[in-house]
Each structure stands twice: as C-alpha cells, then as structure tokens.
Assembly symmetry: C2
C-alpha cells in the first residue's frame, strides 16, 4: 500500500443532526493519531466556507473539548447548502488543496453532499492531483442508498418515538375527547414519521401514520380519524411533512381539502390538518403539534447506538482513506436476527449514492396507507437502543467549545 | 394527637406535568405504609371523576409499577378542569366520602385546584364530617403563592432551557443570517419563558426574552430583533404565549402590529411574530417554533431535584394529614446561599393559595423588558439540577402501567 503523506480536511454539509459531530470526532481523532496525515483541518460552513478559505486547525484544539463533540448537537464546523457546479469553483478548490497540501478530504452529509464529494473526487483525479476523498453519511431523513441506515436517523427516530409516547400520555389525561396531529420532518421519505410507530413497543404509539410514499387523501384521513376517535374518543395521528396527493402534489402546498380555510401562507401542515378535523368532524379539542427543528438537534435524547455508529463512520472513513480507498462513502451493513443486532461499516461508490434517494418500501407501509408494517418495526427498532451517559453543567448538557483557530 | 382511622383519596387536577406522578407516588407509598389509613384510593379524572364515583384501588396495584410513577409524565390518574360550585356537587362529594369512609383527601393541582380543595375542606367541616384535606402543588407555570416554587416547574424549565440551547446550536449551523422565535407556555406568568435564560450558563441562551409581566410592543420587538440581528446576523428570541400590550390585551388575540396579515385563526404566536419579522425587517430565514404540549410532559428531560421534591411534596401531604393538619397546601421554603441550595416543605393555608397568582416580580425583568435579571437566574438555576437515571425498554422510557381496579 502506498503511503500518501499530507494534510486532511474534514467538513460538514446539509442539515444538522444530533450526532453529526460524533462522526467529526471519530474522523478527527483517527486523523490526529495517524502518522501519514500531517495536519488536520476543519472546513467551516461546508464547501462554501472552504471556497472562501475558511479553514480551522484541529491540531490546536483542546482534546477534552474534542471529546465532547459526540454529545454536541447541530454541526460544530458549520454547514452549507451549496451546489458545486461552476468550473471556477473546482479550480479554486484545487488551489486551496494545493496550498495546504490537502491529500485527504472527508465530507459528512446527505445525498447532495455526496454528489459534491463525487464531483470533487473526479475533478481532482482528472487534474492528476492525488487526494483520497471519502464521504461520511448523515441525514435524519435516512434516504441514502447503499447503506442499511444513516447516522442521525436513529437519534431522530428515538426522539420522535419518545415525543409521540409523551403525546400519547398527554392524550389520556382528560376524559374529554381529543385529537392530536403531529407533523414530522421528511420531505420525500417517511422513515422518520414511520419511526413514531416504535412507541407502540411501550404501548404508547400513534393510531395513524401517514408517509409520503403512500398517496394521501383528505377524505380517507378524515374517515380514519372519525373511526379511531369514534372508538376511544382519542386519536394520535402522525403525518410526514412530505405527504402528497395521488398526483404527487405536496399536501402542504396544495389547497385541496383545505380550501375552505384559504390560508396558504400561515400555519404548518399539522395546524391545517387539525383545523380540518375540527371543522369537518366537529371535534372540539384538536391540536396540531410541530416539533420542527427540535427533531434534528435533540442532543438530549439520542440513541447510544447511533452515537457509537456515527463515531465509527468517521473513524472508518479515515481508515479507508489511509488504506488507499477513494471516491467512496462509508455505509453500514447490518444483521438483525433473533433479537440480535450487528452493524459493520462498508464502502459504497460515491457515484451510486450521489443524488439517489431511498424511500420507505411500499410493502413496509400497510395496505390502507395509514401505518407501518412489522418489517418496518423490525428494521427500525434496534437502531434506537441505548441512552449514552451525558456530561452536564448546571443541569444542562455540556457542548464542545472549539477554538476554531484559522489556518494560516 | 388524635388518630383518625379511615380511607384516603388522592386525585390529580389541571394540566399535566412531567413530575405530577412523582407526587402521586410519594403520597400513595406513604399512605400505603400508614396504619391509620385503612385503604388507599385514587380518584380518576380529578374531582369530576370522583363525582361520578370513578375511584380505583391502590392497594391492588403492583408496587413495581407504582415505583415507575416518578418517571411517568402527564397524569396517571387522569385530570379535569372542573369548577366546583353547585351545592349538589358538594352534597354528592360528602355522600361518596361517607360511602367509602374517606377521611383523608389529597388533591394535586394548581390554583384552581387549590380553590376546589379549599371549598371541599370547608364544606366537610361545616357538615361536621371529619376529613383532613391537604393540597399538593403542581404547575409548570410556577404561579402558586406562598411557596418558593411549584413541582413541575423545574422540569419544564430544564426542558425549555435545553431546547433553547439546542436551538442556539441550530442557529449557528449556517453562515446565512437567520432568526428563530420560540413560543413558551405561560398564559399569565413568565416563569417558564424566563427559564430559557438558564441556557446562558452554557453559553447558548436566547438574545431576547419577553414575559407577560412587561408590556409588549411590536415596534420595540422589531427594533430589538433588528439590533441583535444587525450585530451577529443571528437572533434567538423567546416569547411567552401570554405577552400583552400596554392595555393588557394578549398579543396572540389582538391584531395590533399583525394586522397586515389578517389571519386571526391560524398559526400560533411564534409563527405570526416570525412572519412579522420577515415582512417588516426583510430577513428571509425566520422561523417560529412552538414546542407546545411537549413542554408539560417531557418526561425524558426532567430535573432530578424536581422529581425528588415532587415525591417529597406527596409524602409531606400525607405526613401532615396524619399529624392532624387540614385545609393546607404543601409548599417549599428554599435557601440559596453561596452555591448551596436547600429545600424543605412547609404548610400554607389553602385560602391563601386558592385562586391567587404569583407573577414574576417586575424587578426580575430588565428595564428594557426583553430579558431577565441575575436575581431571576439565581432563583431558577438551582432548580434544574440533576438528571435522574431512567429505566428504559427498547430504547424508550418505561412508564407505569396501573391496573386501575375500580373500587366496589
């Protein structure tokens, strides 16, 4: 194996998660301990910040603060949503890589970020600039192909299932009839909304779950609510923000079935569906709940397995690059057998992952399109296991304080 | 001391909290261990359920499930919002108390519930029916008079501070400018919204906080946001749902300053303020976040001190009644000195507590009305300490499963 000497650059991209910084910690600690890697840089604000030369020096960070990254939500390096297309951007990246002798590049993100990663890898290769490029997966949407699941999803799933179990408890408080509609993130894939069903394991799951993968009908939704509510006087319904009608139009953007309210600007999907239930079914106590951004950075409610796997993915990326791999994304291969769960890292060509999306299989959603099957449960259940110990300060989680010393 | 032999009845009332069931556990376990108390009953759905004879038998519950009450959010017995006024209701309560030989009544709730408790106590006394009545405080609003603070508030405060610290982390992710407006519960008192400031202890607090106790002006709010946002490109603002204008009108109900949007039905306060910021200040990325019901039953993010004190309050109520006390509410007297915190239970006449409200002192809010002072911080900070160990099942919190065996 040829030893490639040089600096490495790690950066984060796309939406934050509760464990993306655990991957950062895994990658940085592994890189710091490697003799081939001469310096360890962080790119601030993703590829956009890198283009502005906004790099920081991980050699100058306090190891104790680095160790806190795995319990720090959001994205410690900062992130971006930037589509790399212009030729001059690529030239500029090459210049920066040359200036700092960057020979290892690790980019942590979702499908768009893997596309960026793929393009950079190809460009550097065409320019005969030796650099090993490895993607590290991350998304609460869980929609990356080629991997069993994505770091970030298990913790978001645990948070969603926990919150739904609490909403279930809340629903039981009063004798009066009531309905809650909870809106869960996931524009194109229903993995996260589906995970609310995990609360059924403790007897506190939602009655109805609607995913983007099954066409949504307002009439059916109201009939479902009427039926469940008619039995128990209560109904807990979970909807993915990405639910669509039979023509593929987002419900949140269409006025179908919501016409009589006429407000297209204000109020999220949950609130609008809650209003529809109130108005069309005449149920008085109906509430829409939108956990919104809390879903993607709830560091106080993470899956220990997710934290460990996210860390492992960061480490595996550096190890793969040191072995000579490039143009790949780290993924997971998992076994679920007789209550046992095993996860190991694999490598997937970036070109397979870039811009592709993995929806929830239609057969993992029930025939009525208002719940998930046992296959979904078997898939998702092991992912949310474990509660990591958390270092707290004044009763609040202690986050990593990085110094972000700019690279000269 | 005269020993009063007879059954006891425990019930819950008002809005749920994350620790109201810890008080239930404290009261029930203490009552079960008493020789004077012959039977231990729970009243389902507060005084409303009691009026329907809906009682359950705690002697028949599994002690292992009872032990899980302190990590079970919401209200295990069920609750109600029922104003006791009719003479026949009082007569009916006396009949039920006589039928089951109830000589001890413990009612766990907020100010309305203490009013109920007080009225029942007086009526039974007028009817020469010996029964000791003790109130147990509970409210995330923290607005009961006579007590340092109320069980339920510390955990809700910890949850709010934690969520705000996560929203702060979220705000730092992108280089682009952005504003978050977070709406916190508290119709008349700003204790809970104020607790968001506790996140400043870990460097992740909100920039601006608006409480109902200081008049809210839309112009000032927009000017505050413009100023903070102008400096850093970011702004995290917390508003209490109960903010009012100079005339005492709720902002969420008034159209002042929000007129141009014209929607009075849809969208909570946070969303409407976010829209105002977007429209009036021309900032593109503005989001309203409403944690809604999650604030009052986030069992996954409680203060250990709160759980312990809530349990203690339940125990103290039973102990006081056994000592011969009646017509009182359990309260807390606390010392905060040189970083040390000590809390002990006291008794307060129910008539002092019933229907009274304790707002945040105006001098604990800064002169500008957009933040809290160090006095507020010193008061609230010790309350959120400690993270209790949690028994989990499948990666989710395990809640108590009571059998609710009806009393014959």
């Amino acid at each position: 194996m040829e030893i490639l000497q040089g600096a490495c650059l790690v950066a984060q991209s796309g939406g934050p998660t509760a464990v993306i910084n655990a991957s950062l910690q895994g990658a940085v600690e592994k890189a710091l301990s490697s003799s081939a890697i001469t310096r360890v840089f962080g790119g601030r604000y993703g590829i956009q910040g890198i283009l502005e030369g906004n790099l920081c020096d991980f050699d100058k960070e306090n190891p104790r603060e680095l160790a806190l990254l795995s319990q720090t939500p959001a994205a410690a390096l900062g992130s971006c949503r930037y589509r790399l297309e212009k030729e001059e951007d690529f030239r500029h990246i090459l210049e920066i890589f040359q200036r700092y002798d960057i020979r290892y590049f690790f980019y942590n993100g979702g499908n768009d970020s893997m596309d960026t990663c793929n393009k950079i890898s190809q460009y550097l290769s065409e320019q005969n600039y030796p650099c090993r490029v490895i993607g590290i997966p991350k998304t609460i949407d869980n929609d990356l192909v080629g991997t069993d699941h994505c770091p970030g999803y298990p913790s978001a799933a645990k948070y969603v299932a926990t919150v739904c179990s609490e909403m279930y408890q809340e629903l039981q408080v009063y004798e009066t009839e009531s309905v809650l509609v909870v809106e869960i993130m996931g524009r194109n894939a229903g993995w996260l909304a589906g995970s609310s069903a995990l609360a059924k394991q403790i007897g506190c799951g939602p009655d109805l779950i609607y995913l983007p993968e099954a066409p949504f009908s307002m009439e059916q939704f109201l009939a479902d609510i009427r039926r469940v509510h008619g039995k128990s006087g209560k109904c807990l319904a979970v909807v993915s923000e990405g639910i669509r009608d039979i023509h593929g139009r987002l419900i949140v953007e269409s006025a179908d079935g919501l016409d009589s309210f006429g407000h297209t600007q204000l109020g999220g999907l949950a609130q609008r569906l809650a209003n529809a239930v109130k108005e069309k079914l005449g149920i008085k106590k109906v509430r829409g709940i939108e956990p919104s951004l809390l879903q993607r950075c709830a560091g106080h409610c993470v899956s220990e397995r997710d934290v460990e796997e996210a860390f492992l993915a960061g480490e595996a990326a550096v190890e793969a690059a040191l072995r000579g791999e490039t143009n790949k994304m780290v993924g997971f291969s998992c076994e679920r057998k007789a209550g046992k769960y095993r996860c190991s890292t694999i490598l997937i060509p970036l070109s397979d992952v870039a811009n592709a999306e993995k929806p929830v299989p239609r057969e993992w959603i029930n025939a009525e399109g208002n719940g998930v099957t046992s296959e979904f449960m078997d898939y998702a259940a092991p992912l949310i296991h474990g509660e990591p110990p958390q270092i707290c300060d004044c009763g609040l989680p202690r986050y990593a304080h990085l110094r972000y010393i700019p690279v000269e």
